[in-house]
Symmetry: D2
Subunit: 185 residues, 4 copies
DNA sequence: TTTT
DNA sequence: TTTT
């Protein structure tokens, strides 16, 4: 994929709600999350503490979406790397509306859970997250950061639906390159 | 300013139009620009070349806005670093609308003109930009990237105010390495 | 400060050791930390799990250094935003050596503690950090992310010395701008 | 590839020399370039203009390396996205030396030529670049930004390869918005 | 030297 | 709607 330009968003923030997971006709997963980033400062006039929170719509696709659905919960702290995408839609009155989202998919996207696993070892996660950590998986998983390079199996992509999940795990399930021994410098 | 989170956008793209400059009651400048980032790829089904352009609304404040107004033109290529901000407004039917912009201001923001000055030395810029370059200033300027740390001359900035000139210049007022020299490796 | 170029490093990782704090003649603090970022993958040939850790030298200046010294410990997870700087020095044999560091200072720099406070409320921190969190302060502090816009008081800066520490807390100890009401759009 | 951490470098700067291209035993290309980023400021004590240039070693791999070799020249302006890597080696005296480079490869890496093509159409490039532009290719090429998703050996690509030809071309196999059109706001 |  |  060639591009003339850079379109990159980096967020570190907390989820305002549990992820919402959906599946596309192709079988690919989509997770929608809202991420809060906030700033606070002391007002120089009144001297009072002020705070402003920005809410971001984030859409994760494919494997990233599945991991988000499994591990992220309301309050979880995440690192997100994706790209801005504004889509046009029409409301019930037939009027044009625009929604801007951070799309996290394919090799552009990174989703990294921050703060370590919460809830103790082996214990059931029990609903709510605290301190921004992330929870027990519904099913085993060993990775924490999904994104880039590993989405071979990432089926669901927004503007480009992928191979079906049942595709036979091809040969590119590999590290970028044997950079321990091959890099010639 | 403290914050709990990271909210960062990085763009490299071209302006879709000349900047629109306005002034706030405080006298501070605001420049609105639209920046295009595009991706192209070959459709693997049809084999045809496809392209998708994403348009970004960018609002620059203070000195950055002034520089944008002076140097940027339709077609100019820029590097932008700012933060996402969604604001709510009401249309004529009284319905809520949301607009997401990249806000470039204060020490968060960076605007860097790319591609070198176009149009030759001293010649009038004459309207249109080519190849993403930037134009003749209305008034002399030696800098190319405004933002962060240095906005001594940058009057209208959010947290702008600077150090006093008379401060006693400690020993770190110098680069750690040779510069203006050869590449040191 | 004008620049022709962008020099930015973004890290999310864990500290390999407690921060080392020093003070410059000017009184400004410097904190040196080492941050690990790691990647793991399954070797496509042997099928075994492989891991590679990269260690980064990070130097924080001014207020950022003080906060790092207060809150960060071995194992703490941090978000770092700074710039690359390679400095030349000579070893005991008089040979040139080069060291590359991520410098986090002034308005370029961001240091954000991740994962929430560890160790319970009010309890003494007691040495070791767990799960990448951060500890009890030695002295009260309300902010979590220091950097950009707020380093008014950050005295010691490497290549750009600021106002004196004893400067009388000027008017710029303020938010970027009343962006709730002033932004004219 | 999973990771626990983020290791990202973003540079915008100019090449100090023509790229050096080599080939690995595997046939893969490696391009080494040096990129300058500079800052300038007015010394508040002496009042004189000062400048500091930082030089970065950048290693590009695979297709990115080939494109760099073809199009980049001394003076070319580039956007680089890669990761930090420090390697240890021994000098002739058997002493340990460390070199830190920005590695641009696989899906982590982005290399974007900035500033438009220089030198006019069809004219021989003739050595030196001006204004940071990039040159005539040795062989036709239509893309400008190589990176992510497009590394030849990486079959699974975002909007490129992916789904099998027989996949029923769902509605997301298309841009969400009008493009090649006017700016939609 | 960290983390998982 | 989150976090501190």
């Amino acid at each position: 994929m060639a591009s003339r330009g850079v379109n990159k968003v980096i967020l570190v923030g907390n989820l305002g709600n549990d992820p919402e997971i959906r599946y596309m006709p192709s079988g690919g997963a989509v997770a929608n999350i809202t991420v809060a980033t906030s700033e606070s400062w002391r007002d120089k006039n009144t001297g009072e503490q002020r705070e402003k929170t920005e809410w971001h719509r984030v859409a994760l696709f494919g494997k990233l979406a599945e991991v988000a659905g499994e591990y992220l919960r309301k309050g979880s702290q995440v690192y997100i790397e994706g790209q801005l995408q504004t889509r046009k839609w029409q409301n019930q009155q037939g009027q044009d509306q625009y929604t801007t989202e951070i799309v996290v998919q394919g090799f552009n996207g990174v989703m990294q859970m921050l703060g370590g696993r919460q809830g103790g070892q082996g214990a059931p996660m029990g609903g709510q997250q605290q301190q921004g950590g992330w929870g027990q998986p519904q099913q085993p998983a060993q990775q924490q950061n999904y994104g880039q390079q590993n989405n071979n199996f990432a089926p669901a992509q927004q503007s480009a639906p992928q191979q079906q999940p049942q595709s036979p795990a091809p040969q590119y399930n590999e590290p970028p390159m044997d950079f321990d021994d091959d890099i010639p410098f």
